[in-house]
C-alpha cells in the first residue's frame, strides 16, 4: 500500500532526525525479541499432521538435530538455539494463527523455513512479518515471488524457484526427449503457475496439461489423470506436484501398469516419502529427478556424511532422506546467519548478515546461492539424476552435473560453482 511505504519513510526520517538532535545521548540497546544471554529462539510452522505432512514432518527433527549438535558445541556465541515448532496441517489460515502465536506468545526472534506457498503468502499478508521486521529465513517453497524483496522485505528463499526447476527440466527434455509427447501434472495454484512460466520460457509444448486443485489429490483423482495422459499418448509425464500427488499417481500407475517415462519435480520427488505410501520402489526405477543438494545416499559427500551421522544419532531408526538433508542444511545456514549477525544479534543485523554474507554460507548444495543486498534469492539450480531400482536418486552418468539459471529469461547453463568446504566440526566460523 502506497500510504504504508510513505509512512515508513517518514518514520525513518523522523527517527534519524531525532537521533541527530542528541547524537551524544546514545540510548542503551534494548534486548532483541527472542534473544537472551543464553538463548536464541526461532519458530517454524509446517504440516506435522494430516495428509500433506508425510515427509515434511521430518524437517523439524532434522533441524533440531543440527541445533542440538550446535548447542552441544557452544551454540552461537554461547547462546543455545531453540526451535519452536507449530503444526499448521498445510492449511493457510492455520499457518496464520500459528505464526501469530510464534511471534506474539512464543516471541521468537525469527521464523525458520515455513513450508508451503499458500501458507507463506497467507502469513505475509495477514501476519505481516515484513512490517514487524521479523525475519523469515529460508522459506520452504520454491515460489519465485518470495524473492521480491520489496513485497517481502524480511523473507529469504533457499530452494531454487519452481521457474528455475521447470527451465532446467525443459532443457533436459529438449536435449533428451526431442520429438516425444510430453504430459504435465501440476498443482493449480501459484506453485503450478511458476512451473508453467518456467516451461514456457524453456519453450516446451505439452501434449497434455493436467491441473489438480490443491487438496484434491487422491487415488481416484489419479485414475482420472492417467486417463488423460493415456488419451494424449504422452511419452514423458512430468509430475510437478506435492508428494501426496506424486504418490497417488505412481501408486495408481503401478496398479494400472501405466509406465511412461516419469520425470519428478523436486517437491514431490523424495523417494523415501513416496515409498512410505506403499508405492513399489520399482515404479520409480529410471524416473528422472532433480535436486539442488547431493544424493542422500552419497556418503562420500562430506556434508551428507556429516549430517547423516548427526541425524542417525539424534533420531535413530528414521531414514536420512531429502527432507532431512534439506532441513539440516537450512538449520546450518541459519546458524551461520546468526553467527554473522554479531555478538548481540538483532533482527536487523540478522537480515543484514544474509544480505552481505549469505552467498558465501557453507552448505551442501551443489549450486550457488544468490543472496546480496539486492537479492533474497537462495539456491539457483539443480543437478539431474535417475532413480535406481531401490528408488534412490543418483546423478545421471554417475557424476554431478549441475545447472544454474534464474527466474527470468536467463539461459540454463552448467555451473562451475565450487562449493565451500565444510567448516571445522560443521560449526559456523
Amino acid at each position: 500500500m502506497k500510504a504504508l511505504h510513505r509512512r515508513k519513510l517518514l518514520t525513518a526520517t523522523a527517527v534519524l532526525a531525532v537521533f541527530g538532535l542528541a547524537a551524544t545521548a546514545i540510548p542503551a540497546q534494548a534486548a532483541e525479541v527472542g534473544v537472551t544471554s543464553t538463548q536464541i529462539k526461532l519458530g517454524m510452522t509446517l504440516p506435522m499432521t494430516g495428509t500433506a505432512s508425510l515427509g515434511y514432518n521430518k524437517i523439524p527433527g532434522a533441524a533440531k538435530a543440527y541445533f542440538d549438535y550446535l548447542n552441544a558445541n557452544g551454540g552461537i556465541n554461547g547462546r543455545k538455539v531453540t526451535l519452536v515448532v507449530k503444526d499448521d496441517r498445510y492449511v493457510p489460515t492455520e499457518a496464520v494463527a500459528k505464526t501469530n502465536e510464534l511471534i506474539l506468545k512464543d516471541k521468537v526472534m525469527a521464523l525458520l523455513a515455513p513450508l508451503g506457498t499458500a501458507n507463506v503468502k497467507a502469513v505475509a499478508s495477514s501476519v505481516n512479518p515484513g512490517r514487524r521486521g521479523v525475519p523469515v529465513l529460508f522459506v520452504n517453497t520454491g515460489f519465485s515471488g518470495f524473492a521480491d524483496a520489496k513485497k517481502y522485505p524480511t523473507t529469504y528463499t533457499v530452494l531454487p524457484s519452481y521457474i528455475m526447476e521447470a527451465k532446467i527440466m525443459g532443457q533436459y527434455i529438449k536435449e533428451n526427449f526431442a520429438g516425444k509427447k510430453i504430459g504435465l501434472l501440476y498443482q493449480d495454484d501459484d506453485f503450478g503457475t511458476d512451473a508453467l512460466a518456467g516451461f514456457k520460457t524453456a519453450g516446451i509444448n505439452f501434449a497434455v496439461k493436467v491441473p489438480y486443485a490443491s487438496g484434491s489429490q487422491s487415488a481416484a483423482a489419479a485414475a482420472g489423470w492417467i486417463t488423460k495422459f493415456k488419451a494424449a499418448e504422452a511419452d514423458v509425464v512430468i509430475l510437478f506436484g506435492v508428494s501426496s500427488a506424486t504418490s497417488a499417481m505412481l501408486g495408481v500407475a503401478a496398479q494400472l501398469k501405466y509406465a511412461p517415462q516419469w520425470m519428478l519435480g523436486s517437491v514431490g520427488g523424495d523417494a523415501t516419502t513416496i515409498k512410505l505410501t506403499g508405492v513399489p520402489a520399482g515404479v520409480l526405477y529410471n524416473a528422472i529427478g532433480f535436486s539442488p543438494v547431493p544424493a542422500t545416499t552419497d556418503m562420500k559427500d562430506e556434508y551428507v556424511k556429516f549430517f547423516s551421522d548427526i541425524y542417525t544419532k539424534a533420531v535413530p531408526g528414521s531414514a536420512f532422506d531429502l527432507n532431512v538433508l534439506l532441513g539440516m542444511n537450512t538449520a546450518f545456514m541459519a546458524a551461520q546467519a546468526l553467527k554473522a549477525a554479531g555478538a548481540n544479534p538483532t533482527r536487523k543485523s540478522l537480515l543484514a548478515a544474509i544480505d552481505s554474507k549469505g552467498a558465501t554460507f557453507a552448505n551442501s548444495a551443489l549450486v550457488p546461492a544468490a543472496y546480496s543486498k539486492t537479492s533474497h534469492v537462495g539456491l539457483t539450480g539443480y543437478w539431474v539424476g535417475k532413480y535406481s531400482p531401490a528408488g534412490d536418486l543418483s546423478p545421471v552418468g554417475g557424476t554431478y552435473v549441475s545447472y544454474t539459471t534464474d527466474s527470468g529469461a536467463g539461459a540454463v547453463v552448467k555451473t562451475t560453482y565450487k562449493r565451500p568446504a565444510m567448516p571445522a566440526k560443521g560449526l559456523p566460523n
Partner: protein
C-alpha cells in the same frame, strides 16, 4: 454433513441496537428532569426532532460521555421477510451502548454523566447526526453548567458520527472512541454493492441489487431483494457439499456449473471480491472435524461457510442501506463498470486456492465476472447521485483529540479495515507532527515530542473456535466467537474503552505502558500489537 444452521443465527440485534429510554416529542424544549438522586434522568428533543436522554449522577464531576448509536433501518420491515421482519423504525435514545448497565455503572461510579440521542433520521445519517450531537452537547452544558469535559463514543455508524464530531468540532470533545466504526459511505456501499452484484449476476439475475425506484416502490423492491437474497443464500447453504447451483442461477452461473465449478467456490470468490472476512461467528477456517474431513473442512468448506454466515448477515444492511442512500441521492450509487475484480483477489486466490477449486476455476469465474462478459452486466451508477453520495459527510481520518479505536478483526458489517485506515493515516500524521517538532526545535532548541493521540484495540479471534458434534457436524448454536460478528464486544471491553476515555479526558494522554497492557489483558480478547495490520476496504484499492 448435516445441514448447517446458519440463517437462524443471524444477529439482527447487531444491526439494530437496543433502545433504552422513552423521550418526549416536543422539539427544542429544555430537558425535562426528574430531579432524582443518586441518578437524575432528563429527556428532551433537539431542534431537529431527535429524542435524547441524559443521566447525571449526584456526584457529577463535570465530565459527560456522549454516545452515538449505530445504523438503524429507516424503513419498517414487513413481518413476512425472513430474519429481520417485524422491525419498526425507532429513534429511541441510547446513552450507552445497548443500554449496557455495567458501562453506565462505571461512569456513574466516576461521577460521569451519560447522554445520547436516538437521532432524528435513521439510515445513513452522519450529516444530521453530527449536528444533533453538537446541539445536544450545548443543551447538556446549559442544563448542567458544571460541565467541563465531553467525551464522545459510538458504535458502527455511530463511530463514523463520533469521528466526524472530533474532526469537525475538536473544541467540543476532549477524547473520542469510535468503536466497530463503519467506513465512509462510498467504501461501505461498494463492499455491499460488490457482494450483491455478484449474487445477482451469478445466482439470481432478478435481484435488482440497487438502482431502486424512488419512494415506496423502491422500498418494495428492496423488500423483494431481501427475500431473494436470503433465498439464494439458503439454497447455497443447502448445496454446500454437492456444489450444485441454485435453480435461479443466470446463464453465466449455469455455464460455470457446467464447467464443474462448485457453487461454494463462486460464493467464496464473491465474498473475497467484496472484502468480507473469511472468519465468522462459528467458522474459523482452521478447524475440522475428526475423520476424513479433518483437513478438507478448513481448506475447502469452512471459508465458504464463513462467507455464507457473514454475507447473509451483511446482506440485509447492504440492500437497505443502498436503498436508503439512493433515496437520499436520487439515483443508483453503485458503479462497478471499471472494477478489476481479478486485482481485488490477487492476494487471496492462492490462500484460498483449494476452496476456490484451483487457478483454472478461479480464472474461469473471474472471466465470467469480467466487464467483457455481457452475461454479467456491470452496474452503472448515476453520475449525479454518485456525486451527491460523495458530498455526504466523509471522515478524513484526521486525529484531533485522544482517540480510542476498537474493532473485531472479523467484523462482517464494518470491516476492521475501516479502523486500519485511521491507524495508517495517523501514522503519517504523527510522523508529520514529529517533523514539525524537529523544525520547531531548530528555532527554540526545545524539542517537544508530540503526544500520541491514538490507541488501537483489536478484538481478536481465538486461535480456533469452530466446534463439532459427535457426528462431525459444525455446531452453530453457540455464541459468536470474539472478534467476529458486528460490534461483538463484552462489557469488560466496553468498560476498558470507557476508562481510557476518562483517563484521556482528565490527563490529555491515553493509557500506555504496563498499566495499559494489564488492563488490556484483563479485558480479554484484545490486542494492542502494532504489528497487526488488516487490509483497507476494497474500494480504496480500486483507485
Amino acid at each position: 454433513m448435516k445441514k448447517v444452521r446458519i440463517l437462524s443465527l443471524l444477529s439482527v440485534t447487531a444491526l439494530v441496537t437496543t433502545v433504552l429510554v422513552t423521550a418526549p416529542t416536543v422539539a427544542n424544549a429544555a430537558p425535562m428532569c426528574d430531579g432524582k438522586s443518586p441518578i437524575q434522568s432528563c429527556v428532551g428533543v433537539t431542534s431537529d426532532g431527535a429524542p435524547y436522554a441524559m443521566q447525571v449522577p449526584a456526584n457529577f464531576n463535570g465530565t459527560v460521555a456522549l454516545y452515538s448509536h449505530g445504523y438503524r433501518y429507516n424503513v419498517d420491515i414487513p413481518a413476512g421477510i425472513p430474519l429481520i421482519g417485524g422491525y419498526k423504525i425507532t429513534n429511541t435514545p441510547e446513552p450507552v451502548p445497548g443500554g449496557n448497565a455495567e458501562v453506565a455503572k462505571y461512569f456513574f461510579s466516576q461521577g460521569i454523566a451519560i447522554v445520547g440521542s436516538g437521532f432524528a433520521r435513521q439510515g445513513w445519517n452522519p450529516d444530521s447526526a453530527i449536528k444533533t450531537n453538537v446541539e445536544l452537547i450545548d443543551t447538556f452544558k446549559k442544563q448542567f453548567p458544571k460541565t467541563t469535559k465531553v467525551v464522545a463514543w459510538g458504535s458502527s455508524l455511530g463511530g463514523v458520527i463520533t469521528q466526524g464530531l472530533a474532526e469537525k468540532h475538536p473544541e467540543l470533545v476532549s477524547a473520542v472512541a469510535p468503536m466497530c466504526m463503519a467506513d465512509n459511505v462510498s467504501a461501505e456501499l461498494t463492499m455491499a454493492g460488490d457482494f450483491l452484484w455478484g449474487i445477482k449476476v451469478l445466482f439470481d439475475p432478478t435481484i435488482k441489487a440497487g438502482n431502486y425506484s424512488a419512494g415506496a416502490a423502491g422500498v418494495a423492491e428492496s423488500y423483494g431483494d431481501l427475500v431473494k437474497v436470503f433465498t439464494v443464500m439458503g439454497k447455497l447453504q443447502a448445496s454446500l457439499t454437492t456444489g450444485a447451483w441454485p435453480d435461479t442461477s443466470s446463464a453465466t452461473g449455469k455455464a460455470l456449473a457446467a464447467a464443474g465449478i462448485p457453487s461454494r467456490s463462486a460464493l467464496l470468490l464473491l465474498g473475497l471480491m467484496a472484502g468480507l472476512p473469511t472468519q465468522s461467528a462459528h467458522f474459523d477456517s482452521i478447524s475440522g472435524p475428526d475423520g476424513a474431513l479433518k483437513l478438507t473442512f478448513p481448506l475447502a468448506i469452512s471459508p465458504v461457510l464463513a462467507i455464507l454466515e457473514n454475507g447473509t448477515n451483511a446482506a440485509a444492511l447492504a440492500v437497505l442501506a443502498t436503498q436508503d442512500v439512493e433515496n437520499q441521492t436520487g439515483g443508483a450509487i453503485f458503479d462497478n463498470t471499471k472494477t478489476d475484480y481479478s486485482a481485488r483477489v490477487d492476494a487471496e486466490r492462492v490462500i484460498f486456492n483449494a476452496a476456490l477449486s484451483g487457478n483454472t476455476a478461479i480464472d474461469a469465474m473471474l472471466g465470467a465476472l469480467s466487464a467483457a462478459n455481457p452475461g454479467a452486466p456491470r452496474a452503472a451508477g448515476n453520475a449525479a447521485a454518485v456525486a451527491k453520495m460523495k458530498a455526504l459527510h466523509q471522515n478524513t481520518g484526521k486525529i484531533n483529540v485522544p482517540t480510542v479505536l476498537m474493532v473485531g478483526v472479523a467484523d462482517p458489517i464494518t470491516p476492521a479495515g475501516a479502523s486500519q485506515r485511521l491507524v495508517d493515516l495517523y501514522a503519517e500524521q504523527y510522523a508529520a507532527e514529529k517533523a514539525a517538532a524537529r523544525k520547531a526545535y531548530q528555532a527554540s532548541r526545545d524539542y517537544k515530542t508530540p503526544t500520541n493521540k491514538l490507541l488501537m484495540l483489536w478484538n481478536t479471534t481465538p486461535s480456533n473456535y469452530t466446534k463439532f458434534d459427535a457426528a462431525g457436524s459444525p455446531i452453530t448454536s453457540t455464541a459468536a466467537a470474539q472478534g467476529t460478528n458486528h460490534c461483538n464486544f463484552t462489557s469488560a471491553q466496553l468498560v476498558l474503552v470507557a476508562k481510557s476515555l476518562v483517563q484521556a479526558s482528565s490527563t490529555g494522554k491515553l493509557p500506555s505502558g504496563g498499566a495499559l497492557y494489564t488492563a488490556v489483558r484483563k479485558a480479554g480478547n484484545l490486542s494492542i500489537d502494532k504489528g497487526i495490520s488488516v487490509p483497507w476496504l476494497k474500494a480504496y484499492g480500486d483507485n
